[in-house]
Amino acid sequence: MNKVTHSGYELIEVTTAFERIVHWLFAGSCVLLFISGFGLMFHWMSFIATLFGGHYALKYVHNFSGLLFALSGLFAVIVWFQEGARFTQNDIRWFSKGGGYLWTKEGVPESGRFNAGQKLYYVLKAVTWVLMSLTGIIMWFPFLFGRFLVTLCYPIHVLCVAVLAGSVIIHLFLGTAGNPGTIQSMLTGRCTRAWAKLQHGKWLKEYDEKHHA
């Protein structure tokens, strides 16, 4: 076998263009939904309504970005199902080490293209996508459904908000400031080898086997 020398700066493609489009449609709808949803839920955040042209407009911003959320979320859930929903022994070890983020940096198993934390985020998003879409539609057309079902939807919808608000913020942090270089995977799709080695060592090995064998 030939010895190949790689620079840490070499760029390799980690995501497909389709993945990036799906990601940003889904992410964009989520951000709009969060902003409009918080503007509708908290009276002291009425400045958000003012920004969008009033509460009536804000309701429709929320409803129609909800449609985008439901549609793009369908693609997101399907596209990342194989990698996101399958947990292995390796992932349990990853969790036991807090992913190297919290109490130790040692002994964290190398990750595939999705680390265990990202898989957990996938599961959270997939479950809340189903619940949010269903309860959202029912809340949009409350006269088509019974009182019990409709009133049940309100707390479920907001329970998902409570689960998502913190998770989305942490996802934003870990994808940007917390892990420099990561955002490139969702912008150009091409990251440095040094980044891949640090963040997704197992995936990099598989990549090299495939491309440099």
Partner: protein, 263 residues
Amino acid sequence: MKEKIMLVDVSKCTACRSCQVACKNWNELPADQTENQGSFQNPPNLNPHTYTLIRFQEVEEGSSGIKWHFRNDKCYHCTEPGCMKVCPVPGCIFKTPEGAVVLDSAKCIGCKYCYHACPFAIPQFDDATEKMYKCTFCYDRQAEGLIPACAKACPTGAITFGDKDDMMTAAYARAKKLGGGATVYGDRVLGGTHVMYVLTEQSSVYEKLPVDPKISLSVVLWKDILKPLSMFSLLGGIGASLLYYITKGPKRPTFEEGGEKHE
């Protein structure tokens, strides 16, 4: 401003519907073209331009045949209103010191939350305007020292209006005088309603009158627990991220000199 109570004494109601007409008149609401539904109740239910309605209920009685129950129905103007608890628009549903719960339809965005949050399902949605409407307790008349239109129009004294203390005393005195199963309805539910009844029978006898109306557990969970929790989650996420960044710092890749060897 003193808290006011409207007392509806069903024993005095003759179902003349003066209240319905007076309400339409004062609020400039159009008449409804309705169909015969086999009942004198007309229109068949509250609707966006019918804020108050006499409910006609026929009850069969063993020997004497049939008995009527006439009940003036409208917004109860709760002290703890479910509609106001869920309304997303500041100032759209508000309370007055007299006890009126007013829905300012001009501000309504048609989210319809209030309909299911109201234990009596009072607010009515107008498809044409995409807004909710309900009884205002004639708070505009009250501001001018007038009593609500329905109470003003009632010829038999079935609807009376006055200071809370006086009306409470009057309600219990009347129920006692009527005797039998006569009860007072409203003061023990939803923090006390500002529309109260003297009923000639137990409240369970009357259609569309919940015996123990409550703001549903779902609404309480939603507004009192999960809503603050979602703000806590948002701020917690931001706080945890900032704290992590300044204590542990980012996880940076290392770029080795001369590149990495790979077989």
